[in-house]
């Protein structure tokens, strides 16, 4: 068995991805990505649909082989020791895949058997996990009677049934309503507190990455474009405040006028006479802006000041809005699962 546990380079490292590449014909879905995730960390892969997040997660979880490069998971090479890796990880795929005809407990029990969890341990784990995901009173309910949020919680319990060291969650809140999303976040927070668990989460929700992750890797077109803590990523964007303004009438003349304001690091025109101004000093820019509008006889329809968000970070590193990417059809579909995002 080839283990990297004793290798000092991997001490305290749960996941090490080294120059990993995945090609489908001429298309490169993942291009030379490298990063490390520390033990106990919640690590986020943030990017739009089609960015290569799911391809990355599938390579790390033994589901698809890498074209080149390697992934070391819990000290084991995914390509050389897939079975050992599978025992060390829990995976929640993007789609809801619990059997709707089976009960909550049956779903958990079957997966526990697939991991060969001994009977006594199995019963204990099921009990503990049902309590942790707040589904104890639904244990005998058929999964089809559960809401989307409850099903997602069941899947999270299913992924933890064998007490894995590392937990991969592929877009765990996609398709959930805002209340269920928050419930899932709280549950993941709770699980992190109660178990020594490393989590890798893919998401295209900025707020989710911001709320949950210790560190975030921004992935775009298969490449890793930034990696740091949410705070450091926000700090890396020039201008620590964003002023959003919308004028009642604008034929393009306001861009030049706004660029003349002091303290601005950038001016981003939006649609319908709206602009995003990145500035070192939000209140001062706001005051100057109001003054400028009064001077030029412009009417301000709306005005807001906010701190830099991960949206701004994404725009800064990729040159476009993440939410714009969401609505476009992905350029490439994963061959094994047509129609699903990657």
């Amino acid at each position: 068995m080839t283990t990297h546990k004793s290798d000092p380079r991997y001490a305290g490292i749960a996941i090490a991805v080294e120059n990993i590449v995945k090609r489908y014909g001429d298309f490169e879905a993942v291009s030379d990505v490298s990063f490390q995730v520390k033990e106990g960390e919640i690590f986020g892969l943030l990017g739009p649909n089609g960015a290569g997040k799911s391809t990355l997660i599938r390579m790390m979880t033994t589901l698809i082989p890498a074209t080149s490069g390697r992934a070391i998971i819990a000290g084991h090479d995914v390509a050389k020791e897939p079975d050992t890796v599978r025992r060390a990880i829990g995976v929640i795929p993007q789609a809801l895949t619990s059997d709707v005809d089976l009960t909550v407990e049956e779903n958990l029990s079957i997966y526990a058997k697939l991991y060969e969890v001994p009977k006594a341990q199995r019963e204990k784990n099921i009990e503990e996990l049902l309590e942790a995901v707040d589904l104890l009173k639904w244990r005998d309910a058929q999964t089809k009677t559960l809401s989307g949020g409850m099903r997602r919680r069941l899947e999270i319990a299913r992924g933890l049934i064998h007490n894995p060291q590392i937990f991969f969650l592929d877009e765990p809140t996609t398709g959930l309503d805002p209340v269920s999303r928050v419930a899932v976040w709280e549950m993941l927070d709770k699980l992190r507190g109660s178990r020594e668990l490393t989590m890798l989460i893919t998401t295209h929700y900025m707020d989710e990455a911001d709320h949950l992750c210790d560190r975030i890797a921004i992935v775009d077109h298969g490449k890793l474009v930034a990696l740091d803590t949410p705070i450091a990523l926000k700090a890396s964007v020039p201008g620590n405040s964003v002023v959003e303004v919308q004028f009642a009438r604008d034929a393009g003349e306001w861009r030049e006028r706004l660029e003349s304001l002091e303290g601005l690091t950038s001016v981003e025109p939006q649609s319908m006479g709206s602009y995003r101004l990145h500035t070192e000093n939000g209140p001062q820019t706001t005051a100057s802006l109001v003054e400028l509008a009064a001077d030029k006889g412009g009417v301000i329809k709306s005005l807001s000041v906010q701190n830099t968000t991960l949206d701004d970070v994404f725009v800064h590193y990729t040159g476009r809005q993440l939410r714009d990417e969401q609505v476009k059809a992905p350029l490439f579909q994963m061959p094994p699962r047509p129609g699903m995002s990657t």
Partner: protein, 370 residues
């Protein structure tokens, strides 16, 4: 083993919780058994046959008496009096009559003179079944007329004496073997084909593939579960079909054991075949599109509806490699002939070998990754 049995448990729990699969797999074969069994198994009754008598002599009266006796007793046809041959022909053409019997002028004289007497029969041969039934009936009527009233002391004609080994087999009973095989095929097609691909498309298999389950455990688990489901469909249709067709074999322990063995062999063969066909399929539309084609390609050449001996050579070649053929042959041997274990030995051998061979080919083709 635990992991393989977990797959079996999952499949069977789903199956029993939602018995639609079993019901659906039995509906088509049962409908076919009842409808085809009754539609094809019967004899012609009350066909309208016109009689045109241009002779009116003593021998013509004899013909009409025999004709009326068939009409009254066997009721194959009813007699309709006609005056004109041309009108009778037109009535057969337009469908008012199914056939017309013509007794020509001078018929009685020719009979008495031994001068090649002839009767005419006008039939609508666009309906082969009806025309051949009426022809056969009329031929037997003519044979009866040819028989001398007093038999000679030495009979010089050669007579073929037919010994039928089994009581008359109604078409419904004949069809039952094919219906059981069809029910098992539908069960395997839905349970092992469509649901398997649907699970793949929904990402259920992705969930399995991230666990430490081996390729062999997964393949064996899926196939064992599929075979159990097919066995349950086969047993159910054997019991219901036998009762509907009036066969008592299900009350004879030895035949029940033979049936059980054959059902297991058929399940393994069908399941292996289906798994091999589906092992690399990703699109849920494919098994649905294949359903009808495979049904026609495998069921009809199997001899379940029409004897294989009547097929052209290329169709017989399909029948030779078609597991349906051996399933149907085996079921017929037990249900209709009580042929004992020896009669199904070759079928069992082929079916088990076919099932194992298809699984041996399919297992390495099964992808352990996405």
């Amino acid at each position: 083993m635990t992991r393989m049995m977990a797959i079996v448990e999952r499949e069977l729990r789903k199956f029993f919780r939602s018995p639609t699969l079993m019901l659906v797999s039995m509906v088509m074969p049962l409908v076919q058994l009842v409808i085809l069994g009754n539609a094809f198994g019967g004899k012609i009754h009350n066909a309208r046959v016109g009689v045109v008598d241009y002779d009116h002599g003593e021998q013509a009266v004899r013909v009409r008496e025999m004709f009326d006796s068939v009409a009254v007793n066997i009721k194959t046809f009813t007699a309709v009096q006609c005056n004109d041959e041309r009108q009778a022909r037109e009535d057969v053409r337009t469908g008012k009559l199914d056939a017309a019997l013509i007794i020509p002028a001078q018929y009685s004289r020719r009979v008495l003179a031994g001068d090649s007497p002839k009767l005419g029969l006008v039939v609508d041969n666009s309906d082969q079944f009806m025309s051949s039934s009426l022809e056969a009936e009329m031929q037997s009527l003519a044979d009866a007329l040819n028989n001398p009233t007093v038999q000679p002391k030495v009979v010089q004609q050669i007579v073929l004496q037919i010994v039928e080994l089994y009581p008359y087999v109604e078409y419904m009973k004949y069809l039952l073997a094919g219906s059981i095989a069809l029910a098992m095929y539908v069960s395997v097609m839905i349970g092992g084909g469509m649901l398997y691909i649907d699970d793949k498309a929904r990402g259920v298999h992705e969930g399995f593939l991230v666990t430490p389950i081996t390729r062999l455990e997964l393949v064996m688990g899926l196939n064992l579960a599929g075979a159990i489901k097919a066995v349950l469909s086969g047993v159910s249709l054997t019991v219901i079909g036998s009762l509907l067709a009036g066969l008592g074999v299900i009350f004879h322990p030895v035949q029940v054991l033979q049936l059980a063995l054959l059902i297991v062999a058929v399940s393994i063969a069908f399941n292996g075949m289906m798994f091999l066909l589906m092992v690399r399929v990703e699109d849920p539309l494919v098994p649905r599109a294949m359903f009808g084609v495979l049904n026609t390609l495998l069921f009809f050449p199997s001899g379940s509806i029409y004897p294989i001996a009547a097929f052209p050579r290329w169709l017989r070649a399909i029948a030779i490699v078609d597991p349906f053929t051996y399933a149907v042959h085996g079921f017929k041997a037990i249900l209709l002939k009580d042929g004992g274990f020896a009669a199904i030995q070759a079928d069992l051998l082929f079916l088990f070998a076919f099932g194992i061979a298809t699984l041996l080919v399919a297992t390495p083709l099964f992808k352990r990754t996405l």
